[in-house]
């Protein structure tokens, strides 16, 4: 349970705490969600790695290890506020994303991004390169400002981040469900058509 405290803090420090928490939350969300999705359905990510030229021998291991590293980095930036390695891991992953983007630009044919799991039509390219300074800047800023929460509080914040991700996923699910229902109703109409003519005549066209 979160505990209220009325300890006075300098306003500037409070702003910094919120900024660090917000940045860390965004980093956690951008890493744990997609990482979990890649772990749930590794085929799309595996095909991306294969298109990037990764040897077959390490393909299977990499398609599990890399998303696991994403989840680990995203979770631990909140769960382990006194440790530096989650920040370093985030920067390393961001470098990897940028490298993948560079390789995607050089590839003969577009390589599917699969950054957020399968189902996306995005391709690897400049986006990953432009995002690297943002990733690195956010990670460094979080560490520079300082993570002043405890591991227990970090677990609560991680739960909030995951709840937000669940909410976003639920919105996508609701839209897909609505489309599926509309298609089903329309399919019923076409499979059980009512062919009564619009005009009442003795002879109908065939």
């Amino acid at each position: 349970m979160l505990r209220l405290e009325t300890r006075a803090r300098a306003p500037g420090r409070m702003t910094g705490d919120f900024a660090a928490l917000a940045l860390a939350g965004v980093l956690a969300g951008l890493l744990t969600g997609p990482g979990l999705e890649k772990l749930r359905a590794p085929e799309s990510f595996s095909s991306t790695l294969k298109a990037l030229g990764l040897p077959s021998a390490v393909l299977r291991t990499a398609s599990i290890t890399l998303p696991a590293a994403e989840v680990l980095a995203g979770a631990c930036v909140l769960l382990l506020p006194t440790q530096l390695w989650p920040i370093a891991l985030i920067i390393a992953l961001a470098f990897g994303f940028a490298l993948a983007g560079a390789l995607g630009l050089r590839a003969e044919s577009p390589i599917s991004c699969s950054c957020f799991g399968g189902g996306s039509e995005a391709v690897l390219g400049k986006r990953q390169l432009y995002a690297f300074p943002l990733w690195a800047g956010a990670a460094v800023s979080v560490e520079a400002i300082g993570r002043s929460w405890s591991s227990g509080e970090g677990a609560a914040y991680l739960a909030v981040v995951l709840a937000v991700l669940c909410g976003l996923r639920a919105v996508s699910l609701a839209r897909l469900w609505r489309d599926a229902k509309a298609d089903r109703l329309a399919a019923s109409e076409s499979l059980q058509p009512r062919h009564a003519p619009i005009f009442d005549v003795a002879k109908e066209a065939t």
Binding site: E5, T82, H195
Partner: protein
């Protein structure tokens, strides 16, 4: 007052990653995975429907030079020139989907919806089938025996929905179901117009 504690390093007893007072992260992670699996399931079904041609989507139709013309200029009723927003539904007696849509409307024209009917090979003297319930005397029901209006618009495909805004033609869409007429008109599909099988039947209707 902050809604939660922002104190620096807490005592050792609060340093555990899986604090027993905050076990919410793991079940929410599992929920995220389950939701992801469901999204993938629906996307797979969408691909199957797409392959089977069962996607209920309106197809945009290019109006070409007819875009921007006043409704009366293409032979539509003069009353449409003063409409702020209206839909014109084109149905042909030669088209089975059109017949199905005509039957699905159950003789009731939605607000802002006008009807242009092509008798097809039934002939220019053909009468509207009474069973459908449309009133041939209604200003909003137009019989276009030689498809003059459709030729003026530049498209002969049916069923077609033409949007008229401030009296002028704006866009057109090919449709495939009664549901799309209601959706484009911004109305809810009435219960009577729904097919009997509103739930998944054992015959294998799609979800």
């Amino acid at each position: 007052m902050l809604p939660f504690s922002m104190s620096p390093r807490r005592p050792r007893e609060y340093r555990s990653c899986c604090d027993r007072h905050n076990p919410r992260a793991l079940p929410r992670g599992c929920t995220l995975l389950l939701l992801g699996a469901q999204v993938e399931l629906f996307r797979s079904l969408q691909q199957v429907r797409e392959q089977a041609g069962l996607l209920d989507r309106a197809t945009p139709v290019d109006l070409g030079s007819a875009r921007g013309l006043r409704a009366s200029e293409v032979g539509l009723p003069v009353g449409l020139d003063t409409e702020t927003s209206a839909l014109v539904l084109f149905l042909s007696d030669k088209c089975f989907v059109c017949r199905s849509i005509a039957a699905g409307l159950q003789g009731a024209l939605l607000r802002g919806v006008w009807l242009v009917l092509d008798p097809g090979s039934a002939g220019p003297d053909a009468q509207l089938a009474p069973a459908l319930g449309f009133n041939a005397e209604d200003e909003k029901v137009v019989v276009d025996p030689e498809r003059k209006i459709m030729k003026a618009i530049g498209t002969l495909g049916t069923p077609l929905v033409l949007s008229v805004e401030h009296g002028r033609l704006t866009r057109a869409s090919g449709i495939t179901s009664t549901r799309q007429v209601y959706e484009l008109a911004g109305s809810a599909l009435p219960q009577q117009a729904r097919p009997e099988s509103d739930h998944v039947k054992q015959e294998g209707m799609m979800a």
